[in-house]
Symmetry: D2
């Protein structure tokens, strides 16, 4: 069982992060899936999904996986993100993100996110993300 349901996480995000994009498709132990309906604003030259759009969905999807584990916590923040773009992401398909937490420590959570064009088997991008958990928020 997760600490929050997908619906509870959407409500929480509506409150603290209203400008995010994408819809939660599901959460499970250490995992989350989201989708994003692609609009004109998400495209780059070549009618493909832009890199920043993919990075944004990957980042919020990993955040959702963390919320599902630790409950409502607005102040978790990304400390690093590494992305390899592998193939063009189709502008005429939804973008799908699958996030998985690999390590959930006291202060850092590390995980990976795979991004897909809906209906395709090969990922369009693979992402590794680290979040600092709130205990660490004063680190600067």
């Amino acid at each position: 069982m997760t600490a929050m349901t997908a619906a509870a996480i959407e409500d929480f995000l509506d409150e603290v992060f209203p400008h995010r994009q994408g819809t939660i498709e599901g959460v499970d132990t250490r995992r989350a899936t989201m989708s994003l309906a692609i609009e004109d604003e998400h495209l780059r030259p070549g009618a493909c999904v832009s890199g920043p759009c993919m990075l944004g969905l990957a980042d919020v999807c990993f955040y959702v996986a963390i919320l599902a584990e630790i409950g409502p916590e607005a102040m978790a923040v990304t400390t690093d993100l590494n992305c390899h773009f592998l193939r063009r992401a189709r502008g005429d398909r939804d973008l799908i993100a699958n996030a998985q937490i690999i390590k959930l420590g006291r202060r850092l959570a590390v995980g990976k996110v795979e991004l897909f064009s809906a209906g395709e088997e090969e990922p369009v991008a693979i992402v590794t993300v680290t979040y600092a958990l709130p205990d660490q928020e004063d680190d600067d």
Copy 2:
């Protein structure tokens, strides 16, 4: 001298990438600077600039540095991007990006981008980016 001026690059981007954000402040040999006026849509919890917003500005700023070197080329694409977020980026200041090309090869360009809150000395994030130059666009 650069292959394109800042004004020519803005015109080119208006045509091929109208949904980008940020303004080119200047280009020089292997370098570009951009700024982004922060709006509500760029914020995350805590009234700071969101990670994806920073990643978007870093990515387009490095693209501008490449355009200044090689001329109008819509099809250069990001292959990988690594970002370390160091400090909160203030929601009440412009976000500034300074990009520098470290290696400009035939098929790959590698560089770094530093992001700042306007008026502050310490970077809020450091980014390393690789772009595949058009020759490589059919690599999949």
Copy 3:
């Protein structure tokens, strides 16, 4: 079926890369597994396996996965490597690497490697690697 067997790859590496460390445990389609018997020289303070030792095994294991796909090719080179160290790697256990190719393009191969202390379930490190395939060797 792979282009080279594990034994053929070991012979090839003995010739072109005699100073590598680790033993190939097996290769399969787009995958390779290696192990490294930990000696004193691999340790850092705290009697754990050192980071560079882990990076070395990850790098060669991904190279082995590529050789298994494309055959003997000395001139494939690493272009980027990203590693997250998650847990201490025990100094009294073998280090195990599992590599998987995610994308095998004409000029770039991108993949991931997970590292384990033998007998444990959770990875000690996760690595993303890009190799430039020989076609690209003159890119500088």
Copy 4:
């Protein structure tokens, strides 16, 4: 002034990390420089310096920069490392590392390292590194 001199750091490393490679050339505020005399064991196919050899020098050089700031602390550990290999590193030249701390927080230090073949102007590799400082050692 730094918390430790280069000589004091060499002595400390001799004790806690005797298997490291490379020589400290100098330390300054938030900076360190090291060199490595290249031997056969450091080479990969093509008579170039191997990637893991470069990663090892980058990692220890950033550790030296941290020691110069915070004093003798064996238990600082690398949490992530990102490297872009840009050019062949000559097998007939020393390898030089220049490390700089970009952020020194309570629990994390983030910095960059540039690697050069001695006497050349363009870097052979650029590295970003994060170290967890001792406070965080129990994070797992």
